[in-house]
């Protein structure tokens, strides 16, 4: 399989990995958000949602492992690209004119990605840990766990900021993936860009609305 | 007196090349790899020659002073390339292309060479299409053509306004393929500074590495020069900044004859000069004359804006003087007519410029059609001048553009020095006293793809030249001479910069050896050029060192050669007591002001032998016309 690792390590191969894993994560986020929005329906609905996931635990575990692998691929590959790309220009320009030729979103994928990674660590060590590892009383409500966390001000604000940054990342990532797959068509390219921006806004607003809702609700 | 043998094959015109190809000697395929060939220059002629010779199996070393072969000035040709395909069914044929070219050259080119050029023109188009050159096409998918000056048929193939670029990239791609295969060794950023001649044969070259400054020697069984023209002798020309005559000139000083140096082409459609610090002139493709109308005011000293000059006060002088060719009259005629209008004080607002107006074409065809045809040219015009040519007429004026003269070659494209071949604009062979539009690309590729691969084999197989070591005495001697020459330039440390002297030379050339010449002016020019040469060698300032990247030194060496060439151009113009094509002597004109040839005394090529600095011997190669009748060129 020498050809495979060679292909995946080529510049286009690495782009391809970023795009493929990125698109997978984009799809995951849709499911994730859809589930989270049950919080707005109420405690019962959310608890039911989480419990129903609990019933298919082995399956969820497999999904989680796959997701983790995708994340790791996306992150490791991204870090590798970042350093290689920096190395491609050892002497920097004294005047940076990139504002004039590209968007902020596209130039800051490594930075927004890093922040999202930090967020991910926090997210896993709080919610995921609370839902999956911590022992709860038999009548504990998942809904209340969320409520408690989001009524901590700094935590909620951090969440909101991170979700905005996630939106930045997705805004570029979505259409970028299509470009990488070679789907840049006169007729559909602008539509894809719009869908990407729409998607990014929905994700950012959707995820951020939850902490805002609980924070304001708790006040 | 040296007898110049053009080696034109016998037989009827249309069969000469075919017979010649059969009669010449071939190098057996297995033996080709035993021959080393040096190609200097990687424009259309050089790149196509190097690629084709590599394909055949020769060991080729190709040299360019550019950072990449793709930069050669062929790339800037805009309009197109002629071929006698007759795809338009408008009566074209090989014979008509031949005839138009001979007539366009004012009957000062060799019949046999020109016929061969017309004959292989069709192969060029086939070859380029096969390489993936994206020529313009019709909706049906077949190739499109347009018409060009000096022809009444549509035979010009084009790729928007970037035909030269696309053809060069085609040749460059073929060259790359041979470089990848190891059949061509490519040397970038190495400028040929001398030719090495051993026992009367070209044996190799001396180069200066433009990055390290190192002087190096290379030997081969044959040397091909495809080093372009010398229009930069005028300082301001449409040539690229680095175009120069050095390779050809140094070969000339080593014994190669320089033919018809006075035949220079002044292109009619260039942007006018804007100021003292201008570095070069920009050409607007002649194809614009297909739809643009050239005019000036009928009144002297008219300072009105073009829009304020009513139709009946405009003089569409080309349409008036040459009704059948009109705005598509040949270049020399169009240029001279512009000069006449300006000399008559009818230039645009007192400037050295005339109008090229698209108003009628836009009204007739619509802005979109004009945009499709000339969009990039219009954009280019606006970028440079800040004026929108869709709204106000373009201002144009003639500028030095192409040089028909060059090193003398025989039918095989070999100079009088055995083993030295010269292709493309660097030779003198196919355009006579004036070149028609879209013929330079044709000649460059004809020479490189379809002529030299045959004729060089003949030389190698029949002369069996030997290869000398690149470190043998004659090479070392040549290299040392160049080192001395360079040291000399750097040691003067005078007051005048290289560009300053070049500009002065350019002014002398433009005023006295330009569009119109006379004996008195030419004599004065020779004197002035000699003085400039004196000034250069006593008081020029060249900064920096020899062993480094030194652009000032590069230019100094080139200007030193221009100063000598300029003198020879004036001398050649003075000796040619007639007007023909791009060479217009004011003393020799018809009462209507048209060029007046002297066929009795000047139906010959003037080939100059270098004797010593400032002294040449003029040799003649008589031109015989067996197929066309010498007529007064008329485009009325």
């Amino acid at each position: 399989m020498g050809w495979l690792s060679e292909s995946l390590n080529s510049s286009i191969g690495k782009k391809f990995i970023m795009a493929l894993t990125g698109i997978s994560l984009i799809l995951f986020l849709i499911v994730h958000l859809a589930g989270n929005l049950t919080l707005f329906i109420g405690e019962e609905a959310f608890n039911l949602y989480v419990e129903s996931l609990d019933k298919i635990k082995p399956f969820i575990r497999v999904i989680e492992v796959v997701l983790a692998a995708i994340f790791i691929f996306h992150i490791v590959n991204g870090i590798k690209l970042y350093f290689e790309n920096r190395g491609a220009r050892p002497e920097k320009y004294a005047v940076n004119g990139s504002r004039k030729n590209s968007t902020l979103f596209s130039r800051t994928m490594a930075q927004t990605g890093s922040i999202i990674f930090i967020f991910l660590v926090i997210h896993l060590s709080t919610f995921w840990k609370a839902f999956n590892l911590d022992t709860h009383a038999a009548d504990a409500s998942y809904y209340n766990i969320v409520l408690e966390w989001f009524q901590i001000e700094w935590y909620a604000v951090l969440y909101v900021i991170c979700m905005i940054i996630l939106g930045f990342h997705l805004n570029h990532g979505f259409q970028s993936a299509f470009q990488t797959f070679g789907w840049n068509h006169n007729k559909y390219a602008s539509l894809i860009k719009k869908i990407g921006t729409g998607y990014a806004v929905i994700m950012a607003v959707g995820f951020a609305s939850i902490p805002i809702y609980f924070l304001l609700g708790g006040m | 007196m040296v007898k110049l043998d053009s080696k034109i094959p016998s037989g009827p015109l249309a069969e000469k090349w075919t017979n010649h190809k059969f009669n010449i000697k071939l190098v057996n395929p297995a033996n080709k790899r035993k021959y080393d060939i040096i190609v200097v220059g990687t424009g259309l002629a050089g790149a196509s020659a190097a690629a084709t010779l590599g394909e055949l199996g020769y060991n080729v070393s190709a040299f360019t002073f550019h950072d990449s072969p793709r930069r050669a000035h062929s790339i800037a040709a805009q309009g197109g390339i002629n071929a006698a395909k007759n795809y338009q069914n408008d009566g074209d044929s090989v014979y008509r292309l031949f005839y138009d070219t001979i007539k366009g050259g004012d009957f000062r080119a060799r019949e046999a060479n020109v016929y061969r050029l017309a004959e292989v023109s069709n192969n060029i188009i086939d070859q380029c299409v096969a390489q993936g050159v994206p020529f313009a096409r019709e909706y049906g998918g077949l190739l499109d053509n347009r018409s060009f000056g000096g022809a009444q048929v549509s035979r010009t193939f084009y790729a928007r306004g970037q035909t030269g670029q696309q053809l060069l990239l085609g040749a460059y791609s073929a060259l790359n393929r041979q470089i990848a295969k190891g059949k061509v060794k490519m040397y970038n950023r190495k400028e040929m500074v001398d030719l090495v001649v051993v026992d009367g044969k070209a044996a190799g070259i001396v180069t200066r590495d433009l990055v390290s400054g190192e002087i190096e020697t290379y030997s081969a069984h044959a040397v091909i020069l495809a080093t372009g023209g010398y229009a930069n002798v005028f300082f301001l020309s449409t040539n690229a900044m680095n175009c120069n005559v050095t390779a050809g000139w140094r070969a000339h000083k080593k014994g190669a004859f320089f033919a018809n140096p006075c035949y220079t082409q002044i292109h009619p459609t260039c942007l006018p000069v804007h100021g003292e610090h201008q570095s070069k002139l920009t050409l607007m493709s002649e194809s614009l004359r297909n739809d643009g109308r050239v005019w000036v005011s009928k009144l002297k000293g008219d300072m009105r804006n073009p829009g304020d000059i009513p139709e009946n006060e405009r003089d569409y002088y080309l349409e008036r003087k040459y009704p059948s060719f009109g705005n598509l009259s040949p270049r020399d005629i169009s240029s001279r007519s512009a000069k006449e209008a300006v000399d008559d004080e009818r230039g645009v607002k007192g400037q050295e410029a005339v109008y090229l107006d698209f108003e009628d074409a836009i009204n007739r065809l619509g802005k979109k059609a004009i945009e499709e045809k000339y969009g990039n040219l219009f954009e280019m015009y606006e970028t440079i001048t800040g004026e929108n040519p869709y709204q106000v007429p373009m201002k144009i004026y003639p500028a030095p553009h192409y040089t028909m003269g060059g090193l003398w070659v025989d039918y095989n494209l070999m100079s009088n020095l055995p083993g030295l071949f010269v292709l493309g604009e660097a030779n003198f062979s196919d355009h006579g006293a004036n070149r028609l539009g879209a013929s330079a690309l044709m000649q460059g590729l004809a020479d490189g793809y379809f002529v030299i691969p045959y004729t060089i084999g003949n030389y190698l197989a029949s002369d069996k030249p030997e290869k000398h070591a690149a470190n043998s005495a004659p090479f070392k001697e040549a290299a040392n001479q160049i080192k001395d020459f360079t040291a000399n330039l750097l040691s003067i440390q005078g007051k005048h910069t290289v560009d300053e002297i070049h500009k002065k030379l350019g002014r002398v050339m433009w005023n006295q050896v330009g569009m119109a010449r006379n004996a008195e002016g030419l004599k004065a020019a020779i004197k002035e050029i000699k003085e400039l040469k004196e000034l250069f060698w006593n008081d020029v300032k060249v900064v920096g060192k020899a062993e480094e990247l030194n652009q000032n030194l590069e230019r100094a060496g080139r200007v030193a050669d221009y100063l000598e060439l300029g003198e020879l151009m004036a001398l050649d113009a003075l000796e040619r007591n007639e007007s023909c094509g791009g060479h217009f002597r004011e003393e020799y004109q018809t009462p209507e002001g048209e060029a007046l040839r002297d066929d009795e005394n000047y139906t010959h090529v003037a080939a100059w032998q270098f004797d010593k600095a400032g002294a040449w011997t003029r040799h003649k190669e008589e031109l015989t016309f067996e197929n066309v009748e010498l007529s007064t060129r008329s485009y009325k």
Partner: protein, 258 residues
Amino acid sequence: MAEKMINLKLKVWRQNGPKAVGAFEDHDVSVSADSSFLEMLDELNDSLERNGKDPVVFESDCREGICGTCGLVINGQPHGPIPKIATCQLHMRHFTEGQTIWIEPFRAKAFPVLKDLAVDRSAFDTIMHAGGYVSVNTGGVPDANAIAIPKDVAAEAFDAAACIGCGACVAACKNASAMLFVSAKVSQFAVLPQGQPERYTRVQKMVKVMDELGFGSCTNTYACEAECPKGISVKNIARMNKDYIKAKVKTEKIELEA
């Protein structure tokens, strides 16, 4: 005609060789608004030469925006602030009185500085050697009209082929990626029928060499397209990506021939 003059402060990058340490040098110039940017540098050099100083090394040739020789980064933008032109086509009328102009070379690991503002772009040639051609020998080709090529296909090929190889895409890209340049050549042949036989080997070979030369990867910022003097589209990059992936996934050949 009275020329409009403007006064400018130049900060010009000077570097004596590939390994030397470079720095900016200050020059005050007064220049005609009708002059081109390179003519301004010509004038600067003329005055430097008169004072016995080394002129600023910069490259240019055709000065019509087609040869691709020139290329400076002007106030952070390759070929300066005006879109779709090369440095040689930039005129001083686009600058304002008293403005400071930073002039830098194209910077990339794959484009080492030779001296001052001149860089070595031979890496582009090396990529072209790998496959930037249709493998046909001279002679023995079919008649030019033997294959009909739809007008829009020819136009698409031309749009890609219009690349002048200046390297502004690399200079503009934050990753110094050469994808736009390489994809332009790959695309020209990928859309034309003449290029089909080698379509999938060509893309693999050219990308492989591109990667070996130290260019960065593309992260789809499209700065290259924005700064390209010929407006080469990033659609070409998409096409190259697709062809490359397709080649790697579908072709049976495991090893690329040299």
